[in-house]
């Protein structure tokens, strides 16, 4: 049979796994980091930026071969932005590396996430899924800047 040392090791690893799983089960309450799931609706497929209030914006982005619309988005520092992303044709990617926004743009699906832009700057949106021969040209930007007086 197992010796004492082995039983001890098995118990410790079992306990660690239980603690780990418990910690992970606490996670779902705060699962905002992953692409959210919302049912498809045609209203999301019209590219636009909507201002909810001074610090809250909604961006409806549409990816297509080989550009994003809108191609340039301007919001003030400290804004919280909801991104709704879809595709007009093939599968594209929507990656804002500096803010860890990372979603797929899929025909017939709406990817949603929310992110804050505390610092002024230019944030690139890069398509990171192969989408045909012009894939390497596909980039847009978010300009986070104080509004001009």
């Amino acid at each position: 049979m197992l010796d004492k040392f082995e039983i001890k090791v098995l118990r410790i690893s079992g306990l660690l796994i239980v603690v780990f799983l418990f910690a992970y089960c606490m996670l779902p309450a705060k699962r905002r980091w992953v692409t959210e799931c919302i049912p498809y609706d045609k209203a999301y497929t019209e590219p636009r930026v909507t201002k909810i209030d001074a610090k809250t914006y909604q961006v409806f982005a549409v990816a297509q071969m080989w550009s994003f619309e809108p191609a340039s988005i301007t919001v003030p520092p400290g804004s919280e932005v909801d991104f709704y992303v879809t595709s007009k044709d093939v599968v594209h990617g929507f990656n804002i590396a500096e803010r860890n926004v990372n979603m797929m743009a899929v025909y017939g699906g709406i990817s949603k996430t929310t992110v804050k832009f505390p610092e002024p700057g230019v944030y690139k949106i890069t398509c990171h899924e192969y989408c045909g021969t012009g894939h390497q040209n596909m980039q847009a930007e978010i300009i986070v800047d104080f509004p001009k007086p």
Binding site: R31, V34, C37, P39, N95, G109, E129, Y130, N137
Partner: protein, 556 residues
């Protein structure tokens, strides 16, 4: 042991075809790092377009080589341990379908009619021959399972109460996983994509196709890995001069893979729409579960190697690490396996990063991903496969290894190359460098408005590592073909190294058959995939019309 002429030819062809194609696959591996580092700012070089070459690289290296090898190695292990030959007609039928399918798909890719990458996500559309060829390759590779199961049942009837050899158990586990997961991709290809690519169906549900692909796609990873694991458990301890630390641990690990290889595919879709967060969260948990058999393996193999080192006279806590036969040209298999295992330490940990729900946001679809999987599939998997291909060719044809001194350093050269290459890719990935992108045309082109200078050092490292890998690959081809076409020097036959077990546990009936495990496997798959498919079907919008890769307007 003796092998009939027919089976010997089947195995030899199944190794010769993919290794010959691999020359093209590795050539384009080198070309990719050249393009990506901005050395050339073009869409194609030597008449091979970047994305066409990338498709060939993925399909040849990750699907053709691995599938052919798994079947050839399966035939060899079944014969070696069960002492019964697989059915002649069925093994030739399987080989014929695989070769025919490969040629069909290769034609479509090289003619530039299927630059859709090896994941072939719709609505990018490839030539119907690409889909049909891939399907035939897969169908061909499934045939031997039924024949091997017949051999296994006969053997069990003749040997009641005897443990099924670990290698046979591994081969059957692997092909049962393969049988289950390929059902989904066969449905995707034959029901969704082929009629759509022929113009009979106007649209296809993109997320559904992606979900079916990844049902297959992640199990595919374990289909690559398990032949290597079989070698690690049943050969590596012997080659190192020791014994396998625990035979039962190997069985537990293999059945762990059987349970958890398939139901984890959704972790490739954390960034996808139409799948709920709960389904994605469940997939994270299950993926952490599938790390456990690998941890068991890491422990068992380290213990086996420590025992081997001590048998060879090692002293102290870590002295055994220095006493292993790293450069023994008579045991070159050891070098290939240990180099792969060292890479797999990093490959495994980065895999846990990818499967973690939140961390995935940092790395998904960036260069971090190829950085990770070149330390798994191009690490232990690739090295074990090419080493065993060489061994089987040499023994089955009765040839001596060509340039044995060079052969023994190839795996270490490859390992150093991969470490540099993957470090570059992962560093770039953390800075947002996308994968599968011809960076040289825009992001790494100083003349272009999208020029991104912070990616220069990372892509340069990838170029350096990739070049070293290419050199190691070319040296391997010299050794392989030199051995293949060398003079006959020994009697031909099949010989595999066999490890004894240090702890040879009593036969436990639970670990000596498949039935209860397959039932639990199906239950877990249903728990994971029924919600995923319900999500996809209830949240998806309209289906998508086909697009050719060069045309923004839909059409065939």
């Amino acid at each position: 042991m003796n092998v009939s002429r027919s089976l010997r030819n089947v195995i030899i062809i199944e190794l010769f075809v993919p290794i010959t194609l691999l020359i093209l696959g590795i050539y384009h591996g080198l070309m990719q790092v050249v393009y990506r580092a901005g050395v050339i700012h073009q869409s194609s070089a030597v008449k091979l377009d970047y994305y066409r070459g990338l498709t060939a690289h993925g399909v040849i290296n990750a699907i053709v080589l691995t599938t052919f090898f798994a079947v050839a190695f399966g035939h060899a292990t079944m014969l070696f341990y069960m002492k019964k030959e697989p059915n002649k007609q069925l093994s030739w039928l399987s080989l014929g379908l695989m070769v025919f399918g490969t040629l069909m798909a290769a034609w479509a890719i090289l003619a530039g009619k299927a630059s859709v990458l090896y994941t072939f996500y719709p609505p990018l559309k490839g030539h119907p021959c690409f889909y049909l060829g891939t399907a035939l390759l897969i169908v061909g590779s499934r045939i031997p399972l039924f024949d091997w199961l017949r051999i296994y049942r006969e053997w069990k009837r003749e040997n009641p109460g005897v443990k099924v050899p670990l290698a046979v158990l591994g081969t059957l586990v692997n092909f049962i996983i393969w049988f289950v997961c390929t059902l989904a991709v066969a449905y995707e290809v034959l029901v969704l994509l082929l009629p759509w690519a022929m113009g009979w169906n106007p649209t296809v549900n993109v997320t559904l196709a992606r979900t079916l692909f990844w049902f297959f796609g992640h199990a595919l990873v374990y289909f690559w890995l398990l032949p290597a694991y079989i070698m690690f458990y049943t050969m590596l301890p012997k080659l190192a001069g020791g014994k396998l630390y625990s035979d039962l641990a190997g069985r537990i690990a293999l059945f762990g893979f059987l349970l958890l290889s398939v139901p984890v595919g959704v972790h490739h879709q954390f960034s996808d729409p139409n799948i709920s967060s709960t389904t994605k969260w469940l997939s994270t948990i299950l993926t952490f579960g599938v790390a456990i058999p690998s941890f068991i393996t890491a422990f068992t193999l380290s213990a086996s190697l420590e025992y081997a080192g001590r048998q060879r006279g090692a002293k102290g806590l870590l002295g055994w690490f220095g006493k292993l036969p790293y450069l023994d040209s008579n045991r070159y298999l050891f070098g290939y396996m240990i180099a792969g295992l060292i890479l797999f330490i990093f490959g495994g940990f980065t895999g846990i990063v990818n499967s973690s729900y939140a961390l995935n946001n940092v790395v998904h679809n960036t260069a971090f991903l190829p950085g990770h999987f070149h330390m798994t599939v191009a690490g232990p998997v690739f090295l074990a496969m090419i080493a065993m291909s060489l061994h089987l060719i040499a023994t089955l044809r009765g040839r001596k290894i060509f340039m044995p001194k060079i052969n023994v350093i190839i795996p270490y050269l490859w390992m150093v190359g991969v470490l540099i290459f993957s470090f570059g890719l992962m560093w770039g990935g953390l800075m947002g460098e996308p994968r599968r992108t011809n960076l040289g045309m825009t992001y790494l082109n100083p003349q272009h408005e999208l020029y991104t200078p912070q990616w220069v050092p990372s892509t340069m490292l990838a170029l350096a590592g990739g070049t070293i890998m290419f050199i190691a690959g070319m040296l391997y081809f010299v050794v392989f073909f030199g051995t293949f076409f060398g003079k006959k020097a020994e009697t031909a036959g099949l010989d595999l190294p066999v490890s004894e077990a240090y702890h040879d546990e009593k036969m436990v009936p639970l670990f000596n058959g498949f039935r209860p495990w397959i039932i639990v496997m199906i239950v877990i798959i249903l728990i994971a995939y029924v919600p995923a498919l319900v999500d996809v079907l209830s949240n998806s919008g309209p289906g998508a019309p086909p697009h050719l890769p060069h045309n923004p307007l839909p059409g065939l």
